[in-house]
């Protein structure tokens, strides 16, 4: 990312390639995998929120899933109660979760390490109970029903019949591209440099004139916006409810970010694809072994946990970190 | 004896010690002096194992200390009193002293009791304050405590890092005299790092002068003390 080339143009180029690849894949895959790819695109935005918050500014959060829920509920309520279009609802979801991130930032920006982790964990557990508290609004345990709706007619006339999963994918990818571009720009900007300085050595950064607390809060705001968008899209698959955003969702995002590589967009890409397709891959790879349902259910969790451990102990930079070292 | 041979200590781009060599004789006090930043503390930390030398050799009584953990080096008879009254404030005086003898308790239970008794004899003020928290002691008492902790391990080599820091001259004198007496009675070898070159050279047998990580003088203490050219060039007096 030298100052000679134009980083903005370069980022745009890669994102366009990404979009083309996904669209092409989307056209040829079966519906199940189209749906999976859509989930990858949705979760990628959430993983990027971890890349920004943890990888770039060094703040660990176990509550990104809760922020996804905020976005999900915001968009669902907008569509159901205000009758607005899906796209407006998504924009509102981003704003609402960014505001939640602001509140979270005020509370959390002073905390570090395990204190921050524990507090965000409690948040992730407390938020779903809010949904049960105000059942009439949030639909309690059952949740709210929303979906992507039908693909617009101009798209159908251009590409022919579009399946439901395919539409999910096509609707998500432009937003994913925006998220990728935004992340790339932040990472290469002065803001990104300040966040990295805070991550590496807070006191040194403060001595260099970086306003640590403001930047930390800002990171929460931005990453929460990302998480909210991710959660809103995730909920549009059919339901927004506490069971859709369990605590394991936060851990899933974190795992994806770590396995793929905490500090880079490539890492987020690799990680998102990994966490979505790994269970499918394990299923397929162990089919000849005819494992019992009991073992089959827990095998992805076991392998995921082991991968996380191995990564963190042997290769904390994740897959993209390792690739970069061997360049 | 303590043999330091061609020791280099570098951390990234900073080179703290550039090829240091000297020896310290058994039963004698060798003092390492020099201005701040000369690398004196680093040297002690290399010997006690808290830091690892980049290259070179460190031998005590013929055995190499390089690459060994501090815990094993202590068991070889080397005790290090780091600078700044290294005591653990929330523990009592008695606990701080006991701590130094923990590793010997299984093999030499009776001698440990003896050693603790001897240290209380050396520093009766500590026995008076046995059950007080170490954090409530005065600077001088804390230094005595730190040294006591080292002494109960019955070391054969004692590394003292700036024991006079922040202490009244009278207190420093008392401590140094105690150490000196120990050298004579038990053959304890002492490596004394000091900022206060005058005091150090008046009690030591041998002096090593460090400047910016290199040895610039290595001679018997009285000679170094008398060398006014050396003193004004490196020690500022």
């Amino acid at each position: 990312m030298s100052s000679h080339k134009n980083p903005g143009a370069r980022n745009l180029f890669f994102v366009i390639i990404f979009a083309i690849v996904i669209f092409t894949l989307g056209a040829v895959l079966d519906p199940y995998n189209q749906g999976q790819l859509a989930v990858v695109s949705m979760l990628l935005i959430g993983v990027l929120s971890v890349t920004l918050l943890t990888g770039t500014s060094g703040q660990i959060s176990l509550g990104q899933g809760a922020l996804m829920a905020v976005g999900g509920y915001a968009s669902a309520l907008t569509i159901l109660n205000l009758g607005l279009s899906m796209w407006l609802a998504l924009a509102i979801a981003i704003i609402v979760s960014a505001m939640a991130g602001l509140l979270l930032g005020f509370a959390a920006a002073r905390l570090t390490g395990p204190y921050l982790a524990g507090t965000t964990l409690v948040l992730a557990l407390a938020l779903p109970s809010l949904a049960n508290r105000f059942e009439s609004v949030f639909g309690g345990d059952v949740g709210l029903n929303v979906d992507f709706g039908n693909p617009p007619s101009w798209l159908i006339s251009a590409f022919g019949e579009i399946g439901y999963e395919q539409w999910q994918l096509y609707a998500t990818v432009p937003l994913t591209c925006l998220a990728l571009l935004a992340t790339a720009n932040i990472l290469s900007s002065r803001t990104g440099r300040m966040w990295r300085a805070i991550r590496d050595n807070e006191s040194a950064a403060s001595l260099m004139g970086v306003n640590v607390s403001t930047n930390k809060i800002f990171t929460f705001v931005v990453s929460s916006g990302f998480a909210g968008l991710s959660g809103a899209l995730y909920g549009l698959r059919g339901i927004v409810g506490p069971s859709v955003y369990p605590i394991s969702l936060s851990l899933l995002l974190l795992t994806g970010a770590i396995l793929g590589g905490l500090r880079s967009i490539a890492g987020a890409l690799i990680g998102s694809a990994l966490v979505v397709f790994l269970p499918d891959f394990i299923d397929w790879a162990t089919k000849p072994l005819a494992l019992s349902e009991q073992i089959g259910n827990y095998l992805p969790g076991l392998i995921g946990g082991l991968l996380l451990l191995v990564t963190v102990v042997l290769n904390p930079g994740g897959i993209s970190g390792a690739l970069r070292r061997h360049k | 004896m303590l043999e330091i041979r061609s020791v280099v200590a570098s951390y990234g781009s900073v080179v703290a010690l550039k090829d240091i060599s000297f020896t310290a004789e058994i039963g004698k006090i060798t003092t390492v002096i020099g201005a701040n930043g000369a690398g004196k503390s680093t040297l002690l930390r290399l010997i006690s194992g808290l830091e690892v030398a980049t290259s070179g050799a460190i031998h005590w009584q013929g055995e190499s200390l390089l690459g060994k953990s501090p815990e094993s080096i202590v068991r070889m008879g080397v005790a290090h009193v780091p600078e700044g009254h290294a005591v653990i404030a929330p523990l009592t005086v008695a606990e701080n002293i006991e701590m130094g003898a923990l590793f010997r308790r299984r093999s030499n239970k009776d001698d440990v009791k003896l050693a603790i008794g001897e240290v209380y004899e050396l520093f009766p003020r500590l026995e008076e304050r046995k059950n007080q928290l170490a954090g409530t002691l005065s600077g001088g008492e804390r230094q005595m405590l730190a040294i006591s902790r080292a002494l109960v391990s019955r070391p054969s080599l004692l590394l003292l890092d700036e024991p006079s820091l922040g202490l009244a001259p009278l207190v420093v004198e008392q401590i140094i005299e105690t150490i000196k007496a120990l050298c004579i009675s038990t053959g304890l070898t002492v490596l004394l790092v000091e900022q206060n070159a005058n005091t150090a050279l008046s009690v030591a047998d041998h002096g090593v002068l460090l400047s910016l990580g290199s040895v610039v003088a290595d001679q018997p203490a009285p000679l170094m003390r008398a060398d006014s050219a050396l003193r004004s060039a490196y020690l500022g007096y």
């Binding site: 943890t54 509370a107 | 006991e98």
Partner: protein
């Protein structure tokens, strides 16, 4: 009035268990500088082992003992296999950053939790099991009246009280206890005193494992045993430890009781759904107003 007394007793017995959990967390925090989010996963695992032994016909107390041993071994394994290699890594690459070095052990403990839960699910089929109590589980009757607690509640209190006494004696009166305190307070001086701090750390992990297994054995009868039952207990234990001050063993115990009472009151007088919300508010209040814990000394801790 009756409700209040029942609530207080409930709060005290639950609080006793939370105190154990908090104790375990603080032991590892002080001994190794890490908050072990996998702690109750370890407890779940050893409780499953005990449950399996009981189902196979072994006596309660034998299973109890084995569970404690398994807890100690699991704790030691976590330290030896994961935490030690982690701290030994050079400060290069991603670990050159301060905050990453603090974050990585947290993630490692989450990984361990995931592995333990998956293993438990695979081995013991995530169907919920009960877990027996060694003493009667019905309300105590004395002097013709029914007391608001059961023999098992008394059992819990007695066991926890005993544990606290033993722990205090261990730390104040034994050489190893002194070594552990020294290692936690000043590792460098401890090393220079000849204390093998890595062994001491592993022991902290093992003792913490025993404490958390004990907590699991005590609280499981009133919940059902499944790979996820004890997750939420960790959160309460963590909050208790923070409230009492992460650096303080006695503080964590007091924190446990405070939280036990708080949760009992919320459960009975407000609504069970609000427990986590109350936890969150309480945690945030403590972290904002008294970050070192309610019993923090003059030295304000950097959280």
């Amino acid at each position: 009035m009756n409700t209040l007394i029942t609530t207080l007793f409930l709060g005290t017995t639950r609080g006793a268990v939370f105190a154990l959990v908090a104790l375990g967390l603080v032991l590892v925090w002080r001994g190794a500088g890490i908050v072990n989010f996998a702690q109750m996963g370890q407890a779940m695992f050893s409780t499953y082992v005990a449950s399996t032994l009981i189902i196979k016909g072994y006596g309660y107390w034998f299973a109890f003992l084995i569970a404690l041993v398994v807890g100690a071994i699991l704790g030691a394994i976590v330290d030896l296999a994961v935490m030690r290699p982690l701290t030994r890594r050079s400060h290069a690459g991603i670990l050159a950053s301060e905050s990453m070095r603090a974050t990585v052990p947290v993630i490692a403990s989450l990984g361990i939790l995931g592995v333990l839960q998956s293993l438990a699910g695979m081995i013991w089929a995530a169907e919920e099991r009960g877990f027996p109590t060694p003493v009667s589980d019905v309300a105590v009757k004395a002097f013709g009246k029914t007391a608001p607690f059961t023999k098992f509640d008394l059992f819990i209190i007695v066991v926890v009280a005993l544990t606290l006494v033993v722990t205090t004696l261990f730390f104040k009166k034994t050489g190893m206890g002194l070594a552990m305190r020294a290692t936690a307070l000043n590792p460098e001086v401890a090393r220079l005193s000849g204390i093998r701090i890595s062994r001491v750390r592993t022991l902290s992990w093992a003792i913490s494992g025993v404490a958390s297994s004990l907590a699991g054995l005590l609280i499981t009868p009133s919940a059902n045993l499944s790979p996820n039952t004890l997750d939420l207990i960790l959160i309460v234990g963590f909050t208790a430890a923070v409230v009492g001050g992460l650096d303080s063993l006695p503080g964590s115990v007091v924190g446990g009781f405070i939280l036990g009472l708080l949760i009992a009151v919320i459960n009975v007088y407000v609504s069970p759904d609000d427990v986590f919300l109350a936890l969150l508010v309480f945690l945030l209040l403590v972290l904002i107003l008294k970050p070192g814990g309610l019993f923090a000394s003059k030295k304000v801790r950097n959280v």
